[in-house]
Amino acid sequence: MSELTRLTIAEAREKMRARDLSSVELTDAYLSAIDAANPSINAYVTVTADKARAMAKRSDERMASGEAGALEGIPLGIKDLFATEGVHTQACSHILNSFEPRYESTVTSNLWNDGAVMLGKLNMDEFAMGSSNETSYYGPVVNPWRVEGSNKSLVPGGSSGGSAAAVAAELCAGATATDTGGSIRQPAAFTGTVGIKPTYGRCSRFGIVAFASSLDQAGPIARDVRDAAIMLRSMASTDAKDTTSVDRAVPDYEAAVGRSVKGLKIGIPKEYRVDGMPGEIDALWQQGIDWLKEAGAEIVEISLPHTKYALPAYYIVAPAEASSNLARYDGVRYGLRQQGRDILEMYEKTRAEGFGEEVQRRIMIGTYVLSAGYYDAYYLKAQKVRTLIKRDFETVFADGVDAILTPATPSAAFEIGDAEMAADPVKMYLNDIFTVTVNMAGLPGIAVPAGTSTDGLPLGLQLIGRPFDEETLFAAASVVEKAAGRFTPKRWW
């Protein structure tokens, strides 16, 4: 283990600027760390070592000639959902067997333009459908965290489980991730890392394999708040190739890190105190409230009355869009094809073989809720609920609330193969209970580690902001981070 992989993006950036460190050295340190850890953690599905070294070399050349970009020479891991030219891009699904696109996603293009180095592609739940990274065709990712005194494997959360685990285990300086219902924030909370889902439209979706188009949004998972801010600034852009991306200048998010929260109004939604919530989550939440109060923020109790309908509505809208988005995986043009007697049998065999159980379940749910006779009762109703959820937030923001503080997850990380969740998918879906509202309303949300469970596992708090006010989230999250400290797993791998 090299000490180099301990460095945050900001620290590595300073060392490289001071010529104390080259990108090639840093990249090699990460590649060695991946070699050593990946058989245990399974965070990477592909390591692009040669490409990484070549990119690092070019970064070093650019730094030598004084042309360094904002992320020059920083080695990153990329979630398998992002299209990377000539490199494995399968959304961790068998149906995209051997698929290597001839194009690059806008988000990764932005990162490379700023000088970042690609280490490889990160594991994830198949098509980003899951909260434990157990639905990947490439097997589950193992959380670098373990219960003290136990050697049982825990989930890193999902769907960006590979991203969160790789960041926590120091297998990359930072990682791209995506969040449709909590897929950045929940794994960040489970691994003691920082993850932000920016406002819908902040990052381009071009070149990101679609799950639920109206909810999907890319964001970073990083070691700390500052690194998340640095990464988001590079990832975000306006993009003519995605008409849902927003034409708005990208602010210097890093400048907001450490900014005072004095006088900010922080809302505490009473509806997030759900039944059966563990006492340690409640205590963590209270701790966060106290920290922010001490930092000068005003704490107000607020009501988001339609919160309880968010999860059921989400599990109608997201599968509905997914059932249509995944129709293109038909064996005709790329990826897996299982021959059949006729076209219908080819479709059936290909999709039965290519999609995992959870993906098939969501395609069926989505197909059902859009069917004639059910559309009004399910899809249309869910869209109405969505409007009401959005209005809840608009109302509190109009009342002067600057950000909302909630727990990030209802529990700490659980064991891989948890019998209860395997038996009842709804139990798994409940992981997203605090995060889905944010996607439904298109708002930014950040998960920041705030403490540990009685078992010694990391727990996170979530801050929800006004549309395009990620800066306030970085400011408030850094207050929590400063008070709570950083959380690093003990190396067992």
Binding site: A83, L96, Y103, A210, K241, T243, T244, S324, A327, V332
Partner: protein, 500 residues
Amino acid sequence: MTIVDTRTPDPKRFIPGATGDWEVVIGMEVHAQVTSKSKLFSGASTEFGKAPNANVSLVDAAMPGMLPVINEECVKQAVRTGLGLKAQINKRSIFDRKNYFYPDLPQGYQISQFKDPIVGEGKIVISVGPDRKGEFEDIEIGIERLHLEQDAGKSMHDQHPTMSYVDLNRSGVALMEIVSKPDLRSSDEAKAYLTKLRTILRYLGTCDGNMDEGSMRADVNVSVRKPGGDFGTRCEIKNVNSIRFVGQSIEYEARRQIAILEEGGSIDQETRLFDPGKGETRSMRSKEDAHDYRYFPDPDLLPLEFDDAFIEELAAHLPELPDDKKARLIETVGLSVYDASILVSDKAIADYFERAAKGRDGKLVANWVINDLLGALNKAGQSIEETPVSPDQLGGIVDLIKAEVISGKIAKDLFEIVWNEGGDPAAIVEERGMKQVTDTGAIEKAVDEIIAANPDQVEKAKAKPSLAGWFVGQVMKATGGKANPQAVNALVKAKLGLED
């Protein structure tokens, strides 16, 4: 949707059956390819006739992570068309996904507009006739809506013994689906509707209307009923690709349905195909097999919104439409309804006429275009685009007639020369001595002089009248070829006392 019957049953359109008269009720859904350089949601070219899969972008092939981006020109074309159909333009419309699996549909859904189309209700006035009295009947046909959607690719089943090939060149090309109300009551009306719609689209430049290239296809909904009765169950005849076939398919389908009903049967709502070889329609799929398309708003696309200024700008630059042009030709040029109707029926003919008539006697030009030019083209089996006589040439001929340089009779010869050999009509008249000399005194003087100077020849000619030609030649020579040869001939014969 409540269907309102806007028509009064008219016995001259009834179809006689064994149990009495029947009335056919027709509604049309026309798919018109939008004239645009690139596709509805991608930058790929729409050029016809390219090698298979030459015009395919990553979006058209539905590669993972690709997103549609609306082509503004296609939106403008749809709005122009809506304006041309005197229709409601919806400033906010929504793109929906129509979901179904087919190899030539890469996304697994077609992006279309379902509940909120870009264009709402409008109308087209069709002209049926002329009848035996030469009268035209104008009928207003309601337009239900117009929406934008993507075309699918093409499956080719005849390229390989065991496999099908797919050509995605058409995949994603913009189509306007133009839906009429069920206001048509005969195959002639349906043909007139399609013809008129095509004319309007061509005037607007929003669709080239080339049915043989697939730029325009019609789905025809046909039902029959006792005159004035309740609407019957309809069958939809899919993808009819010529105006003639639309007529034939309606004739066949109406008789098929009447025969079933008269035998006590009932009509199954179904989709049918027209077989042009056999002249019949046959069942394609029944209502039970109909797809559930699971329409829902496409989350990749924001609602399509524009303001009044956007519409007004397009309206301000809209070309003159056939009905307006016809009215203008009747009122300001003074053409007959019949002549004006013929001229405006085809934009290319109207353009030809307007160019030839510019600064000239419109009525005279109209006669020449309709009787001579269109007659000759028809005889030669050529279209107006292939005419060997340009509008300027035809205008030149008319100028010569108006200036009394040539007679109408000579003009016909001149037209034939221009048709066959080309050239400037005035120069031809000059070179070939076709000019008529109106000063008969000058011609007479020349004849008298030649006769007086050649008494021997006069005697010979009186014995052998065919020698009169010699005198004609001498006169032509003396007048420098400017005299009208026929006039000279007549004069010589009269002076020599010869009869024809």
